[in-house]
């Protein structure tokens, strides 16, 4: 497709990243559907694409599409924030192709090879067996090189151009983001030690560095989409950064309750987990405040026009504020204290939280960034909704909420039957899953998965066609 309105190579590269991200997003949903069907019809694709493989593809595609979209979003905003072209953009493009090729090979190996013998060969060439980051070691090394190259692009551009508050936060955050990946790369034969370090990647990504990244993107979005005052937005960003790191880093303790780490983690995890919703509430105020204030200023001038210049993107940003609060906040908080986590750990509660938190906190804002890119690519001043964008938003949000409620009900059955009544025994595990409420929860999760996937198809159609619609202001 022609990039006629894009005069920045960095923004062109961003659209490439978004394209791969959207493709992997589709793969994530597709393999999620396969796994959801297998819960209801266990023989589905048995010994062809088993549940363990479908689930692995589902959750790894999730992480990778988000990383692609995150890189894309940074390449998109860098020229706007720094006032210059991204330094080393040719190298950035080369890294994009390496990253895409590596991920393609990894996915093909997951699908066609699936498992290997329990030796170093499998770790190097099939997968490492660590949830969410199962890439084999050769790909791990490749991803590290790509991530470091991306950080180098970001740092060189930030140091040469105008270093705004948003860019400064991103520079610090992305080096932590890339560095933390290293803690999930080495092998230990002690599962507690292995899990201890593995959580440094997963937790410190999603509850620290990724949340800070979202804060920076929200700041960029508020400035570009509603014309919020940069000074206010950036001041607020620093508050969010301190609150997120202040509660999020040691909030990691809630993952250390039952993996063989010392008991003092129960206290640390409880204390900081109780504080973790506060920055999410704060981020929620941030969007409401800036939107209300900027629109109020416009009304004070006697103008009734909306201040929003990209309605689909802003819708996703607002959903992000709510979704982060709901998924990471509410669904996280009600099973974060060790006294209740003893019963909920590893049940469908975790899955409900995971679905709504990843969607609410990250997928939403990254989809919003894709719409910002579509607007820029098509030279549109005010991008309005289309029928497809409304259908996509409604079906994806409705579908994910539906899956979350279904999984929560299923998890509640597990907590009561498998854990509280039958004491986490082997028979309790199966009795919990045999219950009608659990089974119906799985049925509804599948139905809502289909709703989400249909919404995704609308989203792709919209991203490809919304730029050509004639009702936008150009």
């Amino acid at each position: 497709m022609a990039n006629s309105y894009l005069n920045s190579e960095s923004k062109k590269l961003a659209t490439w990243y978004f394209t791969v991200a959207a493709t992997l997003f589709g793969a994530q949903l597709l393999f999620g559907l396969v796994a959801a069907i297998q819960y209801v019809v266990p023989s589905f694709l048995f010994e062809i694409l088993d549940f363990s493989v479908a689930r692995m593809l589902h959750i790894n595609a999730l992480v990778v599409w988000m990383v692609f979209a995150m890189f894309g979003a940074v390449y998109w905003l860098l020229p706007d924030e720094t006032g210059i072209e991204t330094v080393g953009i040719g190298f950035g493009k080369l890294l994009f192709w390496i990253f895409t090729a590596a991920i393609t090979v990894v996915v093909l190996v997951y699908i066609f090879v699936q498992v290997g013998s329990a030796d170093e060969m499998s770790i190097w060439f099939i997968h490492e067996g660590r949830e969410y980051i199962e890439a084999p070691r050769w790909a791990d090394l490749g991803i590290t090189v790509v991530a470091l190259g991306f950080v180098a692009n970001l740092f060189m551009t930030g140091m040469k151009g105008n270093r705004s508050g948003i860019v400064t936060v991103l520079m610090a955050d992305m080096i932590a983001f890339a560095g933390l990946y290293l803690t999930g790369m080495f092998f230990t034969d002690n599962i507690s030690v292995d899990q201890f370090w593995w959580w440094w990647v997963i937790h410190l990504w999603v509850e620290a560095t990724w949340e800070v990244y979202v804060g920076a993107l929200a700041a960029y979005g508020l400035i570009t989409m509603i014309g919020a005052h940069r000074k206010v937005v950036e001041m607020w960003l620093w508050i969010e950064v301190s609150m997120l790191f202040g509660s999020g880093i040691l909030g990691m303790g809630h993952h250390y309750f039952w993996i063989g780490t010392p008991e003092y983690w129960w206290e640390i995890g409880a204390l900081f987990s109780a504080l973790e919703p506060l920055p999410l509430v704060a981020m929620f105020i941030h969007v409401l405040y800036d939107w209300g204030k900027t629109q109020g200023e416009e009304h004070a001038k006697g103008q009734n026009r909306s201040v929003i210049t990209n309605k689909p993107a802003f819708t996703w940003f607002v959903i992000n504020a709510f979704g982060n609060f709901l998924g990471a906040g509410i669904w996280g908080f009600f099973h974060t204290l060790p006294q209740v986590n003893l019963y909920t750990h590893g049940t469908q509660f975790t899955s409900a939280h995971g679905h709504l938190a990843f969607f609410g906190a990250y997928a939403t804002i990254l989809i919003g960034m894709m719409y910002i890119a579509v607007q820029g690519k098509n030279g549109i001043k005010v991008l309005n909704h289309t029928k497809s964008s409304i259908w996509a938003t409604s079906m994806i949000v409705g579908g994910v909420l539906g899956m979350t409620v279904a999984l929560t009900i299923a998890g509640y059955v597990q907590v009561l039957v498998s854990r509280a009544q039958m004491g986490a025994t082997w028979s309790g595990y199966f009795d919990g899953q045999a219950g009608t409420w659990f089974a119906q929860g799985m049925d509804w999760r599948l139905i809502m998965g289909f709703v989400t996937f249909t919404g995704f198809l609308f989203l792709i159609k919209d991203l490809l066609s919304i730029g050509k619609a004639t009702h936008h202001a150009r």
């Binding site: 000074k231 504080l275 405040y289 204030k293 009600f334 509640y412």
Partner: protein, 108 residues
């Protein structure tokens, strides 16, 4: 000590639903409090609605208390929950104060 708290004070089966609902309401009511406070400050709601915001904060605190009691949290966690409740009360005030000052500096 921690061991005793977790292993000897089990949660009653009939209390789980109350725990999950009250912990959900902690953030739902907390969200209403923050939302009403912010909306009043940016003049999207009338000033007289502000007491309802504080009422929601009181409900948040009650839900935290209820949740903590039914979970039999230990002393340190109970203190953490009190700090979280007070933090939630103060947070919108502090944020609004700072945002307003920055706006003033920006506009005058």
């Amino acid at each position: 000590m921690v061991n005793e708290v977790l292993m000897t004070q089990d949660i009653l089966v009939e209390d789980f639903l109350t725990i999950f609902i009250s912990s959900t309401l902690v953030l739902v009511f907390g969200g209403f409090y923050v939302g009403i406070y912010t909306a009043v400050k940016v003049k999207m709601l009338k000033k007289w609605t502000l007491p309802f915001g504080y009422l929601f904060w009181i409900l948040t605190s009650y839900c935290l208390y209820l949740m903590g009691s039914l979970m039999h949290v230990n002393e340190l966690t109970a203190k953490a929950l009190v700090v979280a409740a007070i933090g939630l009360l103060l947070l919108p005030h502090a944020v609004y104060y700072m945002q307003d000052r920055v706006h003033e500096e920006n506009e005058h």
